[in-house]
Point group: C2
Chain length 215, copies 2
């Protein structure tokens, strides 16, 4: 069966997946960009921007694995955009320009219905109002045997973890402190939910761990 | 001036410095031993047990640095022992046997007065009821120019951090999940308290970071 995984999700040392004060001109929150330095240096990232170059090695291996065999994505409303409440109109089309880096169906969790949004390069955003299990069922069907990657944000990941639906998480812990923001681990007993650290690799820019659900 | 530092303090990936259910036969809490695997393999640890052998390298360098120039220690009551409330008698003398590994004055924070306890090998436990600042003043005097090492537990470290009294923390993040226990970072805004990550080194057993207060 296809796997449902969080991949390349960056965290600060103090456990935050995004900084405080997320807003339109600061989608990752204050200081949030610093979590992703390990990714910005990779060849995988450069290729996503249509450029040559970038580093290979452990960081790049994880970045590349993040996109392998992905047939669909799921993300929370906050990862799709800074707009809260009902959609005022159809102008917001995500943070990623006309050709988003997904190239497959993306299921966006929201309380507010909206027509699917077809973008260049194979990405279609589908807006799901039926909750996390409905989104996963739709994504699994759309992925047609491929894996489903869960993007974020933190609260969406925590919901799926609590429901024991995530097969594995690859986290990249950056050597930075954020101090506040969205905390991934607080009041979430991952061992009790069946998770164990099954992979651990380190680079100057990040500590990569994979947490796998084993029961 | 002598420095006041947390050194070789182990944390789980999910931010716990000890496991749940700390008690007499499980001083580090359930699963807590697994946080210290990086230390147990080192030459420094072997020497502390009076044995030869053990690994050298980054883990050992940090373990050894932990003991350099230390003139006094401070620890919380829970690190000294599992007894809560008034001392029932004088029989509990710490977890460490007749010759504890401190070899200098150790100031134990407690609400319950007790006479100093002189142990073999140069360790004397002093019980301080005047609070964290009083303990630090006493330790600084006793250290006579040496550094003061803050042991733990988590709550004691958090108190000193909130008071902006700690100069630096060396944390060793082990690739394990504990799920619950004593969380170091929750509701503690380290950047706002002046801390920044100033050192980052990784090994197969731990991610070592040093957080330094810069203002």
């Amino acid at each position: 069966m296809s796997r449902f995984e969080v991949r390349s999700f960056s965290l600060s040392l103090d456990g935050y997946g995004a900084g405080p004060d997320q807003r339109r001109d600061q989608g990752l929150g204050r200081g949030g960009e610093s979590l992703h330095e390990w990714m910005f240096a990779t060849r995988t990232w450069e290729r996503m921007q249509g450029r040559d170059g970038g580093e290979t090695g452990v960081d790049d291996d994880y970045a590349a694995r993040g996109f392998e065999n992905v047939g669909a994505w799921i993300m929370g409303r906050n990862m799709f955009g800074p707009i809260r409440g009902p959609w005022p109109d159809e102008t917001w089309k995500g943070w990623w320009g006309d050709e988003p880096p997904y190239h497959c169906p993306v299921f966006v969790l929201t309380h507010h219905a909206r027509a699917p949004l077809v973008m260049a390069g194979g990405t279609t955003f589908h807006f799901v109002t039926g909750g996390i299990e409905a989104a996963l069922a739709l994504a699994r069907e759309a992925a047609a045997g491929g894996d489903i990657r869960l993007g974020g944000g933190v609260e969406t990941i925590r919901e799926y973890l609590r429901a024991r639906l995530v097969d594995a998480l690859h986290l990249a812990i950056a050597p930075v402190l954020l101090g506040s923001g969205e905390a991934l681990f607080v009041d979430l007993d991952l061992p009790a939910l069946g998770y164990r650290c099954t992979e651990h690799a380190t680079t100057p820019k990040a500590t990569h761990v994979v947490l796998t659900r084993e029961n």
